[in-house]
């Protein structure tokens, strides 16, 4: 027995028809019937055991039950074909050794074991990924909040600055990475020229690192590029968050004699904490998935110093034809991201304040 929607008291027509319906048969969608003049006349004035009426009723019910699926179908089909199926297939694939050319060989969990215990580069790659993630995410959050605060003061030229900080976001990463190759060049790069001149200014003879050739400095270089590229985006999210903080709170704080720091610490920070929560979660996920920066600027080198998990997936799948191992890696990466996100969500109660809850 199906019931459509709340039975509004106002809908008196509906009530009458429900009563008129025979043998307790619900006569179908009330709102629709009530609102549609074009509803089949048989419904309006049903005859007992009228075959035409019964047929239409059945068709009507059938379509009520399934029409939603029809509307979902185009989207669901795409999702099943291009997301759900590949995800499940990749899980299966992770248990096969497959080079695309010869038939896949079932190896069980061997490729997971290989990655975790014998792979010559996995530990390094995982460390690189964590290094990158925990090097960039805190900086990204702090920098973008600071920029958003600065640009939220309503000073002159704010729009111009917003454009400037947002520009990297819409710049092609490929182009940016190529330019950064030149900036980071050890001998001729503008960054090292600047650092040398800065040193000269203070009478120091400094020799800045050969960024992209050094296993120690190439990852920081990748991080700098990543921050430059993405801080603008999180800044915009923070700007939106800041706009939503009610001015009355600041006014109240001023009345109570709160200074700038107190206002920031006790009003701004708690009030934008939902934004911070979103930014932290998304930044973590994005950071774990970093690929292009290293792919274009350093090719994962030197000596694997900038090879991240996703880059390693790429290498295994498309350079070394280890499809199964790449799938296994992808699932390990999924597990890591899942665990981090899970704990983030669990811990949000401790520090994320939603205005609605406080009322």
């Amino acid at each position: 027995m199906e019931h459509e929607g709340p039975k509004g008291v106002k809908d008196t027509k509906h009530e009458t028809r429900e009563v008129r319906g025979r043998e307790g048969i619900s006569t179908g969608p009330s709102r629709l019937r009530a609102s549609r003049a074009s509803a089949p006349s048989a419904l309006r004035d049903p005859e007992p055991r009228n075959p035409a009426y019964e047929r239409r009723l059945r068709w009507y019910r059938w379509q009520r039950r399934y029409e939603g699926y029809f509307f979902l179908a185009p989207n669901i089909t795409g999702f099943l074909l291009f997301t759900a199926f590949p995800v499940i297939a990749s899980l299966a694939l992770s248990m096969f050794r497959w080079d695309l050319l010869t038939p896949p060989v079932y190896v069980g969990a061997a490729q997971f074991r290989e990655l975790l215990f014998t792979d010559p580069q996995f530990a390094r790659v995982a460390l690189n990924t964590f290094y990158f993630t925990f090097g960039t995410v805190p900086l990204r959050v702090i920098l973008s909040l600071a920029l958003a605060l600065a640009l939220n003061q309503g000073l002159r030229g704010t729009t111009a600055y917003r454009v400037v900080y947002f520009m990297p976001v819409v710049t092609s990463l490929v182009a940016a990475a190529l330019v950064f190759q030149w900036i980071f060049n050890g001998n001729f790069g503008i960054l090292n020229t600047f650092l040398r001149n800065l040193g000269d200014l203070f009478g120091l003879r400094i020799s800045p690192p050969d960024w992209l050739n050094s296993t120690r400095w190439s990852m920081p270089a990748v991080m700098i590029l990543n921050l430059w590229k993405n801080v603008g985006f999180t800044m915009v999210i923070y700007l939106a968050g800041l706009q939503a903080v009610p001015q009355e709170l600041y006014e109240a704080a001023e009345v109570d004699g709160g200074g700038a720091w107190a206002k920031f610490r006790h009003i701004t920070l708690p009030m934008v904490s939902p934004t911070t929560f979103f930014v932290v979660i998304m930044s973590l996920i994005w950071a774990f998935q970093v690929f292009e920066e290293a792919y274009i600027m350093t090719k994962g080198g030197p000596a694997f110093a900038t090879t991240t998990l996703v880059y390693y997936i790429y290498l295994n799948a498309f350079r070394w034809s280890r499809m199964g191992k790449a799938a296994a890696l992808a699932w390990l990466l999924f597990a890591v991201i899942f665990i981090f996100t899970f704990f983030q969500v669990r811990m949000q109660r401790r520090w994320v304040h939603y205005e609605a809850e406080r009322e």
Binding site: S38, Q63, E67, F70, F71, A73, P74, T77, L81, D99, L100, L101, T102, E114, T118, P120, Q121, Q181, W182, N185, G186, N187, S207, D210, L212, N213, S214, T215, T298, K299, G301, P302, A303, F304, L315, N316, F318, R319, W320, S321, R322
Partner: protein, 449 residues
């Protein structure tokens, strides 16, 4: 009533969507030969119309060059038509492998491939040996060890188009400025170092002009000259042999060139646009590279350069590592006879080899072509014969020929040696660790088989 039509319409739309998706995995891709199934029924006899699919990678210019070669072939074989499968190097192999996995029939009849033995091992390539024996195709015209890079279990599976013959390119102007005599074909390592000392310009601790630009990946050249090699067996290895004194000597020599600032560090070279770019801009006075740079440098009228043979170790023998992608025939081809006929023309003097060579695209795999006007007639660089010296001495050693080689090279050998080229560790520190990892990798993958 109109709702019914709405359902009908949406059902039709969904079916159309599904229908348009569904055939993709099964139908031949657009590049696949439409005429192939038809011609399969009759052998490619003289005059029977055949459509050959021809696959290769490269730049748009290289594609145009291949198409000119095909047109030349069609002049004498009017029954043959060509369709092309073309992708940039980065995507070529992935696309091919995906097709092999999904729809092997859509693989081109004739294609450019590297490394041949790894593919031959999986059974996707046609064994060319019977065709060679039947047609009397002359294998002795190939450079001495070149076909070793295209053999699998004793049979030839591919015909290499070119050979990786290296020479020392030098910028005459920079040599004149330094007051140095030009390099000769009998230069030794010591001559190279002595000249490098004078050609390297410094500003404090910074190098502003390097003597040499050479990709780190070409280390096997020095190792081979010193008498070393990386693995005890290139097709079925049992252990890493980079830790032998000979191999260490070669690595140390290359390491020192970079460590003393004579040679530009490998990663820097890449970031500066590669050896051709730094040579043309005068950032380096010499590069060691194969003949592929010749057309580029000849097009630059400001560049006055010549080539010489790569310096050899005093007391050592000349060595170069060979290799070079080969033309192969797909085991799933429907036109194998026609494909072989084309292939044997492609790899012949007066055929494709001559055309590519005259274009300056390749250093030919065939000795007769290299020794003919096809290669020697061009006036620049004057000492072209230097490439012939290298080709005559070329042996395997730069690459190994088993399926997991790319992974071994990319995950262990390359990155470990990168530490040398980045100047962060010495060969004595890196190589023992490297060999341990290589040996472990071989054990894990079941070698020797």
């Amino acid at each position: 009533m109109s709702r019914r039509y709405l359902y009908l319409l949406s059902a039709l739309v969904i079916m159309a969507v599904i229908a348009s998706c569904a055939p993709v995995p099964t139908a031949p891709a657009p590049e696949a030969p439409a005429a192939a199934p038809a011609s399969a029924e009759q052998p490619a006899a003289e005059g029977a119309p055949v459509t050959l699919t021809w696959g290769f990678w490269g730049s748009p210019e290289e594609k145009a060059s291949h198409e000119r070669v095909a047109e030349e072939y069609m002049k004498t074989h009017p029954n043959v038509k060509f369709e092309y499968f073309f992708a940039p190097w980065d995507e070529y192999f992935t696309t091919l492998k995906t097709r092999w996995a999904g729809d092997p029939a859509s693989i081109p009849d004739v294609l450019f491939l590297w490394p041949t033995p790894s593919y031959a091992a999986t059974g996707v390539l046609e064994n060319l040996q019977p065709y060679i024996e039947k047609s009397g195709y002359d294998l002795s015209d190939y450079w001495p060890y070149l076909l070793d890079s295209a053999r699998y279990e004793g049979s030839v599976y591919g015909l290499p188009r070119d050979i990786e013959a290296h020479a020392l390119y030098y910028n005459k102007k920079l040599f004149d400025e330094a007051g140095l005599a030009y390099p000769t074909d009998d230069w030794t390592w010591d001559d190279l170092v002595a000249a490098a000392e004078k050609l390297t310009k410094r500003d404090g601790d910074r190098v502003t002009q390097y003597a040499l630009g050479m990709e780190g990946g070409k280390w096997a050249l020095w190792v081979g000259q010193a008498g070393g090699i990386m693995l005890d067996d290139l097709t079925n290895p049992s252990k890493c042999t980079l830790d032998t004194p000979e191999a260490m000597k070669g690595l140390q020599f290359f390491y020192d060139l970079m460590d003393k600032g004579y040679a530009m560090r490998s990663a820097t070279l890449g970031q500066q646009g590669g050896d051709a770019a730094v040579f043309e801009t005068g950032q380096v006075a010499m590069i060691i590279q194969n003949s592929s740079r010749v057309p580029v440098f000849n097009a630059n009228s400001n560049l006055d350069y010549d080539v010489a043979a790569v310096p050899v170790m005093a007391g050592g023998k000349r060595y170069d590592f060979n290799g070079g992608a080969a033309w192969v025939i797909s085991a799933r081809s429907d036109n194998k006879e026609a494909a072989w006929e084309f292939l044997s023309w492609l790899q012949s003097k007066g055929g494709g080899e001559s055309m590519y060579t005259r274009n300056g695209e390749i250093f030919p795999a065939l000795r007769s072509v290299a020794n003919s006007d096809d290669f020697l007639a061009s006036p620049k660089p004057a000492n072209r014969k230097a490439f012939l010296l290298a080709a005559e001495a070329a042996q395997p050693g730069g690459f190994a020929y088993f399926p997991e080689w790319d992974e071994l090279s990319g995950s262990i050998i390359g990155p470990q040696l990168d530490r040398l080229w980045a100047g962060e560790a010495t060969p004595a520190e890196v190589v023992p660790e490297l060999c341990k990892a290589v040996n472990q990798f071989l054990v894990n993958n079941g070698y020797p088989k």
